[in-house]
Symmetry: C2
Subunit: 390 residues, 2 copies
């Protein structure tokens, strides 16, 4: 029997379509590759068969993504001799709940999938987080393959092994770390995304520049239109993002330190998502676009970063059409105290003190512990007032 | 913030009551100690405070165990300055289900317990498996302390990091590996167990002799009455069992090989538990008592072990009052084909072939892959027929 999660073939003997970029994630015996390029979805069967010989596959997808891409995946698996069945959930964040989790778990077990078989997540972040959690707990861990179909999932949620569901108290509060065996990011499937959702995912791409790669931020300022258009610039942006995240995750798999940098903009962002009901009013990428602008503005307020840098960040997000202010969020928002309550409910709270990702400037983010809650509250009150005045 | 699962103090600077036996479990950065002795429950607060400084504690227990021991634990935690609250579930295997799992998860999150806090399981195997799974998934992993209150839990389920719940298709099919930070086995609390449940737990003690320690089996043949009576023999038997399991787990944490030896008697046993509804008709220890006898008899049938050894195993189990034959199970059982279906649903199935733990004799268990299902079926048919004749 093959132990769950153990690489079966070495990373170097896999084949992939030409022009595919391979980003290795170095996690010892849990190491794996991310393959990025146009057309990798059509090669999924052969790639999975090489990585996890003899496996069967339980595909988890949602009805929207399934309509576009399930047939391609199933054909590819069939060609490679991989027996599979599909479990289709409803699209949207609502599926990251206990009821759907239990349904998918039951379906996998009813399908007699074993530890040596694979859960294949075909979809965006919701499907990936849900399916990964299922893969992490059925028979205490099955193989797991991510085929992210949104830009957000390709550059963020499909890399790094975080899985989970939401509970009434907040997002992603229940889950496990369960690394995939393989990630296949087909840049072509992003052509089926709406402009709004592509843009939202792009906010996470910019994040990698802002965390620790000022050159990449400059490159994005100059080339973002090509990233949106598709082609080699898109592949480059996704590969650079994955490489950046992979390096951070490799150094701190379980988020005991540096990995928290990936939360740049997320403490503010999660509070805004909670305030707007995690729905169409404000999608995740839009929330963290505003959140990253707020993180830079707050860093300026704390005399940590220059106003020029913060303005440049705001200008780039605004330039691509992402929201950058609280005033752009449709509908009412809680007041500053209400937002602070949401912030303190966020999981990155340690012993009651606030931990924020702040910055010394573009590409110079850092983890600030013991941020004084009152300073954040006053800053948010002003940000809200500024919105009310416009 | 302290990463979940990271030892905060080294094992060697903990204090414990005199006459306590310490069994280290060597799992690298997930290493921990099992402390075994009369009275360790009363020292739980100080021991936990040393191991996980500054933690709060969410106690998970059942109403029966809680009635006997919750007050002692709460007092000890309070004395050590550990803020705690208790989550009480119904006693019995029925609590290892999705609904109770979700309730406990929600209660822990509602109580604002963070990654640096601890879930403390006070109870038998059900509570430990359930609470451990909760600790493994809330905020993707919290600290975890096991205080097993049954003999079964002290020598088996509290050691090794397996956690989980049952689903309609079978036991323990959903869960995670999540090692505790500390295990406190108070041999005194076993005085409140019924004779039947102590005896059932004793079957797991005997298992360690049968797997790879013939001398321990001989010692048990000679000293089992003292183990039942309490005192130093009981502590010795529990410590020997834990040491044996710890050594196996240390060599194979995720059960990719040797750890499967711990399933001696369990493939038959689980099928019998499933056939009898996981209830009072046949408790786990009784099922594996019969299962271990069957495993030895089947090994004799396969010309692997001597009939003398198998008879000696049967004699010891029967001598302490444990069941050793299918005929002793009250009520009807499925026929051999029905039992085979239950066996093939057990999770230790790999690619459709049957893996059994068989033996070359007392202390000489081994993993037999590709056991021919028909041979098992015929053996079970005869075992059933033998029961019908008596």
């Amino acid at each position: 029997m093959t132990a769950s999660g153990t690489p079966v073939t070495s990373a170097s003997d896999m084949a992939e379509p030409a022009d595919t970029v391979r980003v290795p994630v170095a996690l010892g015996e849990r190491s794996y590759d991310i393959l990025i390029g146009r057309g990798v979805l059509g090669e999924a069967g052969a790639l999975i068969a090489r990585r996890i010989p003899g496996c069967r596959a339980a595909i988890v997808t949602d009805s929207t993504v399934g309509r576009h891409h399930l047939e391609t995946l199933e054909s590819s698996l069939a060609e490679a001799g991989i027996d599979c069945s599909a479990i289709v959930v409803s699209p949207g964040e609502g599926s990251k709940n206990f009821a759907t989790f239990e349904q998918v778990v039951d379906a996998v077990i009813a399908g007699r999938f074993e530890r040596g078989d694979a859960i294949v997540a075909l979809g965006g972040g919701v499907v990936g987080d849900l399916a990964g959690f299922v893969a992490g707990v059925v028979r205490r861990g099955m193989h797991f393959v991510q085929i992210p179909t949104s830009l957000l999932a390709q550059v963020d949620s499909s890399v790094g092994g975080k899985t989970g569901i939401n509970v009434s108290h907040g997002k992603n509060l229940v889950g496990v770390f369960h690394q995939p065996d393989l990630v296949l990011a087909d840049t072509g499937v992003l052509d089926t995304l709406s402009e709004r959702h592509f843009r939202a995912g792009y906010a996470e791409v910019v994040k990698y520049g802002l965390i620790n790669d000022a050159d990449f931020f400059v490159w994005l300022e100059e080339n973002w239109r090509d990233v949106f258009a598709g082609g080699p610039a898109r592949t480059h942006a996704i590969a650079t993002s994955c490489r950046s995240k992979a390096a951070i995750v490799a150094r701190d798999e379980r988020e005991s330190g540096e990995r928290a940098l990936l939360n740049l903009g997320h403490t503010f962002g999660h509070a805004l998502e909670a305030a707007t009901g995690y729905g169409d009013r404000l999608v995740h990428g839009e929330a963290i676009s505003i959140g990253m602008v707020l993180a830079h503005d707050f860093s300026v307020r704390m005399n940590l970063a220059s106003k020029d840098d913060a303005d440049r960040v705001r200008a780039h997000f605004a330039g691509v059409g992402l929201p950058t202010t609280l005033a752009e969020i449709p509908g009412d928002l809680p007041d500053a105290d209400g937002l602070m309550t949401l912030i303190s409910q966020d999981k990155k709270v340690s012993r009651g003190s606030l931990t924020f990702i702040l910055t010394h400037g573009i590409g110079k983010a850092f983890i600030a512990k013991d941020v004084v809650p009152d300073a954040v509250r006053d800053f948010l009150a002003e940000a809200k007032a500024a919105g009310a005045r416009t």
